[in-house]
Amino acid sequence: MTGSLTQPDLGQVRTWLQEIPDPEVPAVSVMDLGIVREVRWENDELVVAITPTYSGCPATSVIALDIEAALRAKGLEHLRIERRLSPPWTTDWISEEGRRKLEAYGIAPPAERAGDSPSPFDRFLRKPLVVACPRCKSENTHRVSEFGSTPCKAQYQCRDCLEPFDYFKCI
């Protein structure tokens, strides 16, 4: 890519990124999850800034590779993936569309805003979260385990339809 006339605009790039699924939760894209923090041109180089969901999440390096491969397939040659730690990723960045897709896929989206989470000392005193079953929408559910198939999820079960399901933890 040389010269600004042949550079795709950033809106177009974001549309392409919207098509890249998260490797562990393929129902949602890396854009839906809020992992992509910035897309910008630096002269003729496209820079995509991404942030890890959890510091040990093995999907982070796969996401970087997927983004690079997808953009190269669109004809972009000069690109760089930038890792960004701050501000730390929060489930508040999951888009409305992302939340809908998660639920349709059978994963209950975060049931509270991380922004107003109390400190852990206060968290001990609060009531258990109400997490609605993604299948039958019943709120009569219980937590089976604090962790699920990936660090970002917990395991719940619905007491009405008995469906076991993943809950996307709020951080």
Binding site: P52, Y54, S55, G56, C57, P58, L85, S86, P87, P88, T90, A114, S119, P120, F121, R123, F124, V144, S145, E146, F147, G148, S149, P151, Q155, K169, I171
Partner: protein, 252 residues
């Protein structure tokens, strides 16, 4: 020791605590009392290993001798490790693992909270990231102390024994040495002794709710921060470092 050397040592402590405890927890993989616990312990281990990479890579950068997180984790001997004695203690039974985790998580949370105010922005950023994960670890380990302490006669007995046996390794968490003082003066890290009161408040309240008796303050085992370890660390390293020692420079 100048400030940069002290900072390198300090970052090794942060990284080594996460590395050694993460390794200990990973030893439960495939052996936990229930599948859910297997998943949970492995996921907490994963968080800690992720944090290890962040701290030790930064340590290597500050040192400036071309060592990255892998080199620091795999190619140092026991005397060069700077983790607290608490995190290298054996898993024991499930009560022992969760008591160790609770003592550590409560302290880790407070320490990271202090580190978010570090004048070194890279330290503050890693701390802010880790704090979110550790808040969850703390909630979980506290739940287990409650559940086992206030559970059956047998679970209470085991949790009480674990709380007692590990107590002598908690004194080291709050002792400030020359390196800590350099960090405090430079505004890079919190004063460990200032964390003790909040930690005790939390641990006391939890023990009370769990019907457990907290031991009296007494003799504290110390040395990990300076590289003087219990016999257990060598066995951990034999396991952790085997591949790099037997097949130097092997990559995934």
């Amino acid at each position: 020791m100048n400030e940069q050397e002290a900072l390198f040592e300090y970052l090794l402590r942060l990284g080594d605590n996460a590395l050694i405890l993460g390794h200990r927890l990973s030893e439960w993989c495939g052996h936990s009392p229930a599948l859910e616990e297997d998943l949970a312990l492995s996921n907490v281990a994963l968080d800690l290993i992720g944090q290890t990479q962040l701290w030790l890579n930064l340590a290597g950068e500050i040192e400036g001798k071309g060592r990255d997180a892998d080199k620091l984790a795999y190619l140092r001997d026991a005397r060069d490790f700077r983790n607290l004695l608490l995190v290298e203690q054996p898993n024991g039974d499930f009560a022992m693992t969760m008591a160790r985790q609770f003592y550590f998580d409560a302290w880790h949370y407070l320490q990271l909270q202090g580190l978010t105010g570090s004048k070194e922005s890279r330290i503050a950023e890693i701390a802010a990231k880790s704090l979110k994960e550790v808040a969850y670890h703390l909630e979980r380990s506290r739940d287990w102390v409650l559940r086992l302490g206030d559970g059956t006669e047998e679970s209470h007995r085991r949790m009480q024994a674990a709380i007692d046996d590990l107590w002598m390794y908690t004194g080291e968490l709050f002792e400030a040495d020359e390196i800590d003082r350099t960090m405090i003066q430079a505004g890079l890290g919190p004063d460990p002794s200032a964390l003790q009161e909040s930690w005790l408040d939390l641990v006391r309240a939890t023990a009370e709710e769990a019907t457990l008796a907290l031991p009296q303050p007494g003799w504290a085992q110390r040395g990990g921060k300076r590289g003087i370890h219990t016999e257990h660390l060598g066995y951990i390293l034999a396991d952790l470092q085997f591949l790099q020692r037997a097949y130097p420079n092997a990559v995934w």
